[in-house]
Amino acid sequence: MSKKVSEMYTETSKWKELTPGCDIYVAGTSKEFRTGDWRTDMPIFIVEKCKQCLLCVPACPDSSIPVKDGKRGEFDLDHCKGCGICVKACPFDAIKMIKEEK
């Protein structure tokens, strides 16, 4: 079985090719899609103000703040939905929200 849901199903799949109830038998399928593309507000990471306390990381409902070697990096804007919870979680004003121009 394919490891990608986008290969299991395409928009030309026939009805007999669907799984029962459209069940999906792979994990982490959001990685294949830009689930944040309906965002209106966008977070800006102000790196010089960041103390790397990482309080924002577990607050993010979409796991869109990647951490590498104990330090957070830029937002994953393919999956961030612009909810702004990270702004509230940050004690150092290192994140601000702006209107996203599309």
């Binding site: 928009e11 009805w15 669907l18 029962p20 109830g21 459209c22 069940d23 999906i24 038998y25 399928t29």
Partner: protein, 393 residues
């Protein structure tokens, strides 16, 4: 050897459930189905079953829990009536579209209002388009037999749909009648173990249940779901055939009673069919050619088979124990008429709404219907096609 007993319909279904020994039963009490989870919880307390009995706070939660348990891989059932089924409405569609073979013991009761606790079919008829298989039972024996057959139909790989086994509130659920029960091990072997191909608690594969379907997929999903219902007809017949080998009792999509040479006939569901058979015996002894078609399987609806069985009648009365409020008649009549439409020879059809909210249906009430059919045959026209039986004018 079958076990001769005398039981109410509720007890009979609870015993079928004990013999099936399901994995999970979430349930919330509502008259007249309350006794089913009540009897079953005593089986749980006495260690007669291995079932996880979940005392939920509403029927909305009962069906939600059933969906979760069934998706996890557990054989799950529940019981309800009337407004309880109405409160499950959203989840009924989810269970069916997620292709989860849950079994539901439905004890038919009128929907409010006026508030009423007695038998009619407005609850299940309201859920007729939810994607559940619906089987109706005339008496306690049929309620038991149908429940024993339920999982073999619902879990079949060609079907994979939830199933409701219906019996009439109080008339069947509370009246104690003779019954032949099957031995525990015979039921156990017949029903077998539930072995779903994919389930959430399987740690060898990832699985997501109930994903969002965009417009590019939703219609194909519905087409696939409808195929399960189409396939159910043959599976129901196959399971009935096998059931006959363990019980000696025969079931089909519907039952014909003295229909072969009948000039006039009644189409009816559930307990009132028994009353109608008495009326037929009486009228036959007077030389009248009257018959009956009792629908057992309402979903899937065996339209072609019913049309073939009725085509030689001169006039028929389709009996609805629920209103449709479409100003044309009830749901059973709408289905029967649409089944008859595409055959050349067809009887005149009159629709009777009867027995709402537990109104008694007597042998004389049914005789009244056959007398009206005689008049329709003589007049060669139906006249008013949408009537209320035994209504005070």
């Amino acid at each position: 050897m079958s076990i001769r007993e005398r039981l109410s319909g509720n007890e009979a279904v609870a015993i079928a459930m004990r013999q099936i020994n399901p994995d999970v039963m979430p349930a919330f009490p509502i008259t007249p189905s309350t006794e089913i989870p009540q009897y079953f919880s005593s089986f749980v307390a006495n260690g007669l079953v291995d079932t996880e009995f979940v005392t939920v706070e509403s029927e909305h939660s009962a069906m939600s829990a059933a969906i979760g348990a069934e998706a996890a891989g557990a054989r799950t059932l529940t019981a309800t009536s009337s407004c309880g089924l109405a409160l499950m409405w959203e989840e009924l569609y989810v269970a069916a579209s997620n292709r989860l073979p849950i079994a539901l013991a439905l004890v038919n009761r009128a929907l409010s209002g006026p508030i009423n606790i007695n038998a009619d079919h407005s609850d299940s008829m309201g859920a007729r388009d939810s994607g559940w298989i619906q089987i109706y039972s005339e008496n306690n024996q049929e309620a038991y037999d149908n429940f024993v057959q339920a999982y073999r139909i619902a879990e079949h790989a060609d079907v994979r749909l939830p199933i409701m086994i219906c019996q009439d509130g109080f008339i069947t659920s509370h009246a104690v009648e003779n019954i032949n029960l099957l031995e525990d091990d015979i039921v156990k072997n017949f029903v077998g173990e539930y072995e779903p191909e994919n389930y959430l608690l399987n740690n060898k594969t990832s699985m997501a249940v109930g994903p969002y379907a965009t417009p590019a997929f939703y219609m194909e999903a519905k087409r696939a779901q409808s195929q399960g219902m189409n396939n159910a007809k043959q599976v129901i017949l196959d399971v009935a055939k096998e059931f006959k080998t363990i019980s000696g009792r025969e079931y089909g999509l519907f039952e014909e009673y003295k229909l072969d040479d009948a000039e006039t006939a009644i189409v009816i569901l559930s307990s009132a069919a028994g009353t109608a058979k008495d009326a037929i015996d009486k009228l036959r002894s007077e030389g009248k050619k009257v018959g009956l078609l009792k629908i057992r399987v309402f979903r899937p609806f065996p339209a072609e088979e019913i049309a073939q069985a009725l085509k030689n009648c001169k006039a028929i009365a389709v009996m609805d124990r629920s209103e449709g409020f479409n100003s044309q008649g009830g749901p059973v009549c709408a289905e029967v008429k649409s089944g008859l439409y595409n055959i050349d020879e067809k009887p005149l059809v009159v629709n009777y709404v009867y027995g709402l909210g537990g109104r008694d249906v007597k042998v004389e009430s049914i005789e009244e219907v056959y007398a009206a059919l005689d008049k329709i045959v003589a007049d060669k026209t139906v006249g008013e096609g949408y009537r209320y039986l035994s209504i005070r004018e």
